[in-house]
């Protein structure tokens, strides 16, 4: 492969990762506030269908993306409402929504299968796109890909560098303490769940109006991405940068699977496409294993020098969830 071809491939990985990025950043924000939105798989499919339908009917790409985002926010609100007001399990409600929205997308989307809808064009950024290497990678993409870059930094800045972001971390870690400090914990949780859901809701239209333009029902191949998003959000340790690294790593591995196809002709594409999953499990294992009791015991039995090195490695890999993730908050 020529170096130019390689650059174009990497640029393709970056734009192909955009939908997953929206999902992962959205979920990260929601989980930071202490709510797990397990509906992601259904959210992505239904927002893809709704976004495509809206753009197809109105002819406006903007309305397509807006519809997807609103739908994502709405589904997330059902999770928040069921958890906060009705005290139901977030995991249960999220799982049901994942199944429900998937079926809704197939049923309601039936009329839009194989229709020719609008799709997003590449929009090079003048001047910057002439920079060697970087120009091709980052500045000859489409609008949503640019937004997928920007949102990593925006999310990171909001969470770690602003006062409301401090509150956001507070309501996910120690809601009682945040409440004493004057935060309206449940209202903030509603807001952030909606916001996170809306960002994740961009994932669907980014597929159906951009990366995999069009709607093909069950053949769209979008089933499964939502579960990937949830795994990467855990891998990302609720930090947007680490999450972004996870997204690009995953997309790179999927691309590698495609490239290796001619080299390994005995292994079908569908198999290589799932190559990231064993790796995902492995990384989840590495991320979590430091907390396991037997590992702690094993560490304690090691000689001092080795123990310190091992402990440091495990700590660097470790990602602990917001302490109150999935736990409802009551002020009394």
């Amino acid at each position: 492969m020529t170096s130019m071809g390689l650059l174009i491939s990497i640029a393709g990985i970056l734009s192909g990762a955009a939908p997953i990025m929206f999902g992962v950043i959205g979920e990260t924000i929601t989980e930071r506030a202490g709510i797990i939105n397990l509906s992601m798989n259904g959210t992505i499919l239904l927002s893809a269908m709704v976004g495509f339908a809206a753009a197809f009917v109105t002819g406006s790409l903007f309305l397509g993306f807006l519809a997807g985002a609103l739908l994502g926010g709405l589904v997330a609100l059902v999770v928040a409402f069921s958890s906060i007001a009705l005290k139901q399990s977030q995991v249960a409600v999220g799982f049901v929504l994942a199944v429900l929205c998937l079926n809704l997308s197939y049923f309601l989307g039936h009329a839009y299968i194989s229709q020719n809808g609008p799709s997003l064009n590449v929009l090079p950024i003048p001047v910057l796109d002439k920079i060697p290497i970087l120009g091709i990678l980052f500045f000859r993409q489409d609008l949503m890909t640019y937004f997928s870059f920007v949102i990593i930094f925006l999310a990171w800045f909001w969470i770690y560098r602003t006062r409301p972001g401090l509150m956001l971390r507070g309501i996910g870690e120690r809601p009682a303490a945040a409440y004493v400090r004057g935060a309206n914990v449940n209202r903030l949780r509603y807001i952030y769940t909606f916001l996170g859901g809306a960002i994740a809701g961009l994932a669907g239209p980014t597929f159906s109006l951009d990366v995999k333009a069009g709607w093909a029902g069950q053949l769209s191949g979008l089933d499964g991405y939502g579960w990937i998003v949830l795994s990467i959000a855990i891998f990302g340790g609720w930090n947007p940068f680490r999450a972004a690294f996870g997204v690009y790593l995953f997309s790179f591995l999927q691309w590698l699977g495609l490239v290796l196809q001619p080299v390994l002709p005995n292994i079908p594409t569908q198999v290589l496409q799932v190559a990231p999953f064993p790796l995902m499990i492995l990384t989840l294992l590495l991320v979590n294993i430091g907390d396991a009791e037997w590992v702690q015991r094993w560490l304690a039995s090691l000689p001092e020098g080795t123990r310190r090195v091992m402990a440091r490695i495990l700590r660097a890999l470790r990602a602990s969830p917001p302490a109150s993730l999935g736990v409802p908050f009551e002020s009394e």
């Binding site: 007001a85 139901q88 049901v96 049923f107 579960w227 198999v271 294993i289 396991a292």
Partner: protein
């Protein structure tokens, strides 16, 4: 007390009405006549003996899956990996049948061995999620999801690669087994009484396991409060593993049924979504094993009835999935509302 019972029933009826309203709305949005759609679904369930036996044939794997997740739910575990456990069961069954199909063993014995292999395959995949959870700290939801993808890919690899049909590289499935390796269907319908018996037996066993045994009691203790159970001397992680093993075994049997009684070969979508559907049924019945059989039957009937929609009305069959999902959602939400309104501060 009595008044509360009536209130509860009233709220659940409201949830059913809401679910039907929602589904009707969805049908109207799709530009279809709701009455026509519902009558088509009903006809698809009841209009012939073949329909009714199809429903019962779909009931078996769903019942096995539901019975399985009732065990993991009792232990406080979300075994989302059940889909992969069904697939692995089917893979092991197929492997066993392939290995023995040219042997001189009688067909019945080969089928029995196939079922045992399926049970083992499912249990192994369940145990893997369990090991990841208990020794690796990987939440069973995410470990299970990953293992689902791996299982499907593994089945695909076998179907295209080593177990492929000679000369064709196709994802449609392996070669169909000779009829002597099919679960016998005496009445010339899709339903095997053996499979039906197995499904019902599993549901009954799980009901008594959870209700009337020491094992079930300790399992539920682990599910309700792991720390308290541990302090009371229950070997907690062992019980989590038992739950994964048992659920995986039942899921594996569901896979074996799919291979020997339904498809007579291995296909990539061999689980047919029964694992996730089993989770939905378990939630809908509020994890009460008594209701597993009737509600699973209802959900299986919806699956079969939905098949009529593409044929009769050129619509997607996923309407059944919409109704199945929204029903659980509304039952959960309405039950939550009832508790908030009428059971506050007891």
């Amino acid at each position: 007390m009595k008044k509360n019972q009536w209130l509860k029933i009233g709220f659940q009826l409201a949830a059913i009405v809401l679910a039907l309203l929602f589904t009707t709305l969805v049908l109207l949005m799709a530009g279809a006549s709701p009455l026509q759609a519902y009558s088509n679904v009903l006809q698809g369930i009841f209009s012939s003996t073949a329909d009714i036996t199809n429903v019962l044939a779909a009931w078996v794997p769903l019942l096995l899956a539901t019975a399985g997740v009732l065990i993991t739910f009792a232990a406080g575990l979300w075994n989302i990996g059940i889909e992969g456990q069904i697939v692995l069961g089917a893979v092991f069954t197929t492997g066993a049948l392939r290995l023995l199909q040219n042997s001189s063993l009688p067909g019945g014995w080969i089928i029995v061995i196939g079922f045992i292999a399926g049970l083992i395959g499912g249990a192994i995949w369940g145990a893997l999620a369990g090991v990841l959870k208990t020794f690796g700290g990987v939440n069973e939801i995410f470990g299970g999801l990953g293992l689902n993808f791996v299982a499907t890919a593994f089945a695909l690899y076998l179907i295209i690669g080593p177990w492929g049909r000679p000369g064709i590289a196709s994802t449609s499935g392996t070669l169909i087994f000779p009829t002597r390796l099919w679960l016998p269907t005496p009445l010339n319908v899709a339903l095997s009484p053996w499979a039906l018996g197995l499904g019902i037996l599993a549901a009954i066993l799980v009901y008594f396991l959870l209700r009337g045994t020491y094992f079930g009691l300790r399992l539920k203790a682990v599910g309700k409060n792991m720390r308290a159970a541990f302090l009371l001397g229950v070997p907690t992680w062992q019980y989590s593993m038992y739950a994964f093993l048992l659920c995986g075994a039942l899921a594996g049997l569901a896979g074996a049924v799919q291979v020997t009684a339904v498809y007579h070969r291995l296909i990539p979508t061999i689980s047919s979504g029964y694992g996730f559907l089993g989770l939905l049924v378990a939630m809908l019945i509020n994890y009460q094993a008594v209701w597993a059989a009737p509600i699973a039957l209802f959900y299986a009937a919806l699956n079969i009835g939905g098949i009529q929609l593409p044929i009769m009305m050129k619509m997607d069959s996923s309407l059944s999935g919409v109704l199945q999902g929204i029903l659980v959602l509304f039952v959960l939400m309405v039950e939550g509302a009832r508790q908030q309104l009428f059971e506050k501060k007891e």
